[in-house]
């Protein structure tokens, strides 16, 4: 057995010096790997940071609770607390209220105002004064009593106060649905523990103040509990029995898990996408190690002749690959550090828009993520070097005595490889039929992987056969040079073909993503026009951010009903709900007016008949996402308790919807209000509870914007409460803008994958040229001109690029189907109208071809990089 010491020496002498001599290509490959690894690492770090930030914030807000009492879509009477606090199962209980509020004059970050009883809450959340020494363990007592003592006072994290130039005893004006009120800052929180929730954008006030400010007398959002560890099953059963029927006793982690699962699905999507860059980098390693193995046959034979075992050669070539991977990963670190700063913004913004609200300011170094990216990079590099290293093992020591330069060719396997490749491609179909695993589109990704591998395995056969097929054509078109090029391609070995795999992968990914994004965008655009129709949208202040949980007060509703501006309005009441851990929005909407001006994109259900039944309140329509996630179909009944109101309704149709937070269920507003009137004895039950309105102008006025402006002015003047308003046009533009921003990250990743593939093509072509130095010199010797030889290389490159494109197109088309109909459905629950934007493809594909051909330049230049004489001497 050879020692590690020897292996290290051998590696330095044999591999490292060689790589150093050929530093140009070594650097190119390392750079390629580095870019791939950097993209992967930074994407993982960004999402990890987002996930951590979300979890931390949820944990900080959830505090030490081990159970939470919630009412889906509603609130809980706070009088429950006196019963709960005395219950034998309960050790501690703390009621919590929270809402986003705007600070007047401060733009744009809203604060999360949290209302608690600081005494009951002490066992749940930790916070302390900025001013008091950290050493004292008994200190916060002084601090909390002031918010009880002084009405409309609050505590702020010191960081928020500092950012806004506020100090203790300053007064700030908070805006909420019902009113604007002055609050006195009575203390600053040390930036630790609870004060870090929501990235520090919080304010703590007493529960009494909160209720008086928001008008939520007698109600709380939730009650956090700590259960006695020794509480018996009977105690727990008894606890459940004292709770109202529609109130749930759940684990605090449920809310977090729902959010985490949503983010995880996104994490997986982005990881896979960023992995593609690494995957393409794998082809680079393969090219270089294969080149090294090919051009160092003699050295290996010498090593064998003086006593090296085949295994040693295998190890040395694997080490070549590993070295490239490890160095690439190390170079990737500083690149990641820069990249992650840009990515984190996009990623956290996307997560905030699509899934759960979060704000991430810092990226923590996550050792496990770094280890993961290191391991994946290392494994990929070793895997890439495996086949050339196996080839190196086969070299006979006898070759030292011969000057024959035998190259191992695998052409005889191309047929077999093609069959295996086809099998892989065929396997894609059954894989796409499998359901996602717990919201993760694993079968979809497996299908993608099979598709890529299948096409890569198919490429040698295609290369040979297409090469032979087009040789006559080429020679007709461009003479003997092109003929030689075609001949070469027709006889090229697996190595060249596998390198083409990089191009196939990148092109396929490009096509597929362009198709997917375009399909997605055009469907969303259609949805926005149809379903998000309207000229002005009005919601209570912070209505969107507070998830429509604060409807307009009655006095505002009365104003809306008596506006002078002539416009139809659609009122809606929206509730954030969940079903089987799947979040959705229940929206009661005035269908009559809605269908007059807007409509749904139907997937199932006959609009004409369903419209009528919907208006009568005979059932609901659900979004595709909701149907896919819950498994409910048309004809099934939807049962739910929405803010104490029990509904049990048939599903009449399934529609497309691309709203965030999962699915949507639509129901008729007047039918819902009738149902609710059965519960009139509830506190705060009012006839109309509107989460918002949208206005439609009936006149075909040429200047809609002017009408909108007039309506806006009238509302501002008359409405007794602060509102948020947005014109329909702005809203729709906003949605599409968010859409485009969301895919900005994706597009960036795509371009990087293409970049890596271009480097791959460049390396492959240089390899091809260098390997044939002798052959090319012979051609030179028998009378070819430089120009002719360069032209030949150009033709070869062109043929390879075209074949890569051709296969890439096929692969990309299949991939786009998988993305649109399998992966999106499995990870987000939605699909889109399949739409190929030929114009975009027509513009971009020549660009890819040009880029690939540009990549041939180094190869062409390298033809006579060394004078023929030196080549002879080396031999």
């Amino acid at each position: 057995m050879v020692s590690i010491n020897f292996l290290l020496k051998a590696f330095v002498w044999f591999n490292l010096r060689y790589l150093k001599r050929h530093y140009g290509r070594t650097l190119a490959v390392i750079l390629g790997i580095a870019v791939g690894a950097a993209v992967f690492t930074s994407v993982r770090l960004s999402i990890h940071a987002s996930l951590e930030s979300f979890s931390r914030s949820m944990d900080l807000i959830a505090g030490q609770a081990d159970r939470v009492i919630l009412r889906p879509g509603g609130r809980i009477p706070d009088a429950l607390i006196s019963q709960l606090i005395r219950h034998p199962a309960i050790n501690h209980a703390s009621p919590v209220l929270s809402t986003y509020v705007v600070v007047e004059g401060i733009d744009p970050k809203p604060l999360l105002l949290i209302g608690i009883d600081p005494i009951l809450d002490r066992m749940f959340r930790t916070w302390r004064s900025e001013d008091l020494p950290t050493t004292s363990s008994t200190q916060p007592k002084s601090f909390w009593s002031t918010i009880i003592e002084i009405p409309f006072s609050l505590l702020l994290p010191a960081s928020v106060a500092r950012d806004n130039g506020w100090q203790t005893n300053d007064t700030i004006i908070l805006q909420h649905v019902e009113r604007k009120t002055a609050f006195k800052i009575v203390g600053l929180l040390h930036n630790s523990d609870f004060a870090l929730a929501e990235n520090g954008q919080i304010a703590i006030t007493d529960i009494a103040t909160f209720q008086e400010f928001t008008g939520l007398y007698g109600e709380v959002d939730r009650i956090d509990l700590q259960i006695y560890p020794e509480a018996s099953a009977d105690d727990m059963a008894d606890l459940k029995s004292i709770l109202p029927a529609d109130v749930s006793l759940s684990l605090p982690s449920e809310q977090k898990d729902i959010g985490r699962n949503l983010i995880r699905a996104y994490q997986l999507n982005l990881s896979v996408l960023s992995f593609v860059s690494l995957f393409v980098g794998m082809f680079l390693v393969y090219s270089l190690v294969a080149l090294n193995a090919a051009s160092r046959r003699r050295e290996m034979a010498i090593l064998r002749s003086i006593g090296a075992s085949p295994r040693l050669l295998f190890v040395l070539f694997l080490a070549d690959g590993l070295f490239l991977g490890v160095i690439g990963w190390m170079v990737a670190l500083p690149i990641s550090a820069i990249l992650v700063k840009y990515l984190i913004k996009g990623v956290s913004q996307t997560i905030s828009t699509l899934f759960v609200r979060l704000s991430v300011e810092q990226v923590a170094l996550a050792p496990w993520e770094l280890l993961l990216s290191f391991c994946i990079t290392a494994i990929i590099s070793i895997a890439a070097a495996w086949q050339p290293a196996r080839e190196a093992m086969q070299i006979s020591p006898l070759e030292v005595l011969t000057s024959r330069h035998s190259t191992l060719k695998f052409k005889q396997f191309t047929g077999r490889l093609a069959i295996i490749g086809l099998t892989f491609i065929i396997m894609v179909w059954p894989l796409t039929q499998l359901p996602g695993i717990r919201g993760f589109p694993l079968p979809g990704y497996a299908a993608t992987f099979f598709l890529f591998v299948g096409f890569a395995l198919l490429s040698p056969w295609c290369l040979c056969h297409i090469g032979r097929l087009i040789t006559p054509l080429l020679s007709k078109m461009a003479g003997s040079v092109a003929f030689l090029a075609g001949k070469y391609i027709g006889n090229s070995d697996t190595r060249t073909a596998i390198s083409v795999g990089a191009l196939i992968t990148a092109v396929a990914l490009f096509i597929a993503l362009v198709v997917m994004i375009q399909s997605f965008r055009s469907t969303v655009s259609l949805w926005v026009q149809q379903t998000v129709a309207g000229d002005l949208f009005v919601v209570p202040k912070m209505g969107q951010l507070n998830r429509h949980r604060y409807p307009f007060p009655q006095k505002a509703v009365e104003v809306f009903q008596k506006l002078e501006t002539r416009a139809d309005y659609v009122a809606f009441r929206r509730y954030p709900m969940h079903r089987q851990q799947i979040p959705y929005q229940f929206e009661a909407i005035d269908f009559e007016v809605f269908f007059k001006h807007a409509g749904f994109l139907w997937i199932e259900g006959v609009p004409e008949t369903v419209h009528l039944r919907l208006m009568k309140g005979e059932g609901v329509v659900v979004s595709e996402v909701f149907a896919n996630r819950t498994g409910l179909k048309v004809g099934d009944r939807l049962q739910a308790a929405i803010d104490t109101i029990q509904i049990d309704l048939p599903i009449l149709g399934i529609i497309r919807d691309y709203r965030t937070h999962g699915g949507v269920v639509y129901f008729a507003l007047d039918a819902f209000e009738k149902l609710r009137s059965a519960y009139r004895d509830r506190p705060n039950a009012r006839l109309h509870q509107w989460s918002g309105l949208r206005f439609f102008f009936t006149d075909n006025h040429p200047d809609i914007d002017m009408l909108v402006e007039d309506l806006r002015k009238e509302i501002v003047t008359k409405c007794p409460v602060p509102v948020d308003m947005i014109s329909g046009r702005q809203l729709r533009q906003g949605i599409l803008k968010i859409f485009d921003e969301t895919f900005a990250v994706t597009t960036a990743l795509l371009l990087i994958a293409l970049l890596v593939a271009t480097v791959g093509i460049a390396v492959t072509l240089v390899v091809m040229v260098l390997e044939r130095s002798r052959e090319l010199n012979t051609l030179f010797a028998i009378g070819s001109s430089f120009g002719q030889i360069q032209a030949m290389i150009f033709w070869e490159a062109l043929v390879i690029v075209l074949i890569g494109q051709f296969l890439g197109w096929g692969c990309g088309y299949l991939l786009s189907l998988i993305l649109v109909f399998v992966i999106n459905q499995q990870s987000f629950g939605w699909t889109f109208l399949y739409h190929i934007d030929w114009r975009t493809l027509a513009i971009t594909l020549p660009l890819i071809i040009s880029a690939a051909l540009l990549a041939t330049l180094p190869a062409i230049r390298s033809v006579f990089y060394k004078p023929p004489a030196s080549l002879l001497r080396e031999q």
Partner: protein, 376 residues
Amino acid sequence: MPSLLITLFYALFAILVWTSDASATDNKYLQVNGPCHLQFPKDHGSHPGYRTEWWYYTGHLTTENHRRFGYQLTFFRSQLRPNFVDDNHRLPKSDWRSNQIYLAHAAISDLGGKRHLYVEELSRAALQLAGVNQKNMLTEIYLKNWHTRIGPATHQLVMQNSKFSFELNLIPEKPPVLHGQYGYSRKGASAESASCYYSFTRLKTEGTLRIGRNRHHVKGQSWMDHEFSSAPLEPNLVGWDWFGLQLSDRTEIMIYLLRTRHGKISPASSGTYVRNTVSSRHLDRNDFNITVLKYWQSAKSKASYPAGWMMRIPSLGVKLKISPNIADQEMITTMSTGVTYWEGSVDVDGTVKGKPVQGQGYVELTGYDQPFNAPM
């Protein structure tokens, strides 16, 4: 034990409230500066407007197997500010809006097992979490699921916790004793440095006591104090030693010593001697003499407390040796008042007018952990 806890309280809340909001001093709390005119049962209830108030029970219990326990149960009321009128907000008030905070301490001294257990509770007076109810002849002081109900003939105490719980019925054997001048008990030089203070010095007690999983039927004697005031601690004082002793000749002695910064006993220190008849006699500083026999140092707080006394009241012929039943009966109440003090069961042995007497009692020692540096 009048001003001791008041002091503790003030040390705690006054700091917070007064430093954070100077305007709180503008509106004044009600002051105790003259006769209290106590009427029962009305004055068993709470006295909002006064800053601090407490109902304090201690006692000595014995099981059928002659196992001895001491207990303490105290409810405190603390008003955060004189009133909470807020002219800026004409909004209806939330049910949570309250400026009364209730705190409670409970402790058990297991004399045989040499254990001292204590727990604390805290809540605002809102949504039936804590407060005082008075209906007909019944006064209820409650905090979560702890309460005391004071009726015409009995006091009922209930406290529950996972560590221990007890339910006790107390029957007064003597009417309430008003300390000082008809309940007006001076705690310092000025007229306002005073509290309203009365005690039930001898209550026959019976009930159940649970420690962990062990339940005991217990009988014994209790002592009850009720006191309220708005006066802060005078600045030259560091703490208080309070004695409540029940002697075998059916007399009781209450004495509190106010300790000054220089280790002297303030002239405002006083006491009450309750005869075996119904009458009682006020004791002023010159009537008694208490010397410390030894000290005990707490391992937890490092505070050094007196741990044995000789009490002499020459005019009554009283000469008593007072010894703690357990050395460590220290209360570190970080979750409620935040004050560290010693409150414990003691045994008494000595003579009254030459006749031997035994007895038991409770002693409270404050200001040993750290002197109060209240800014008042």
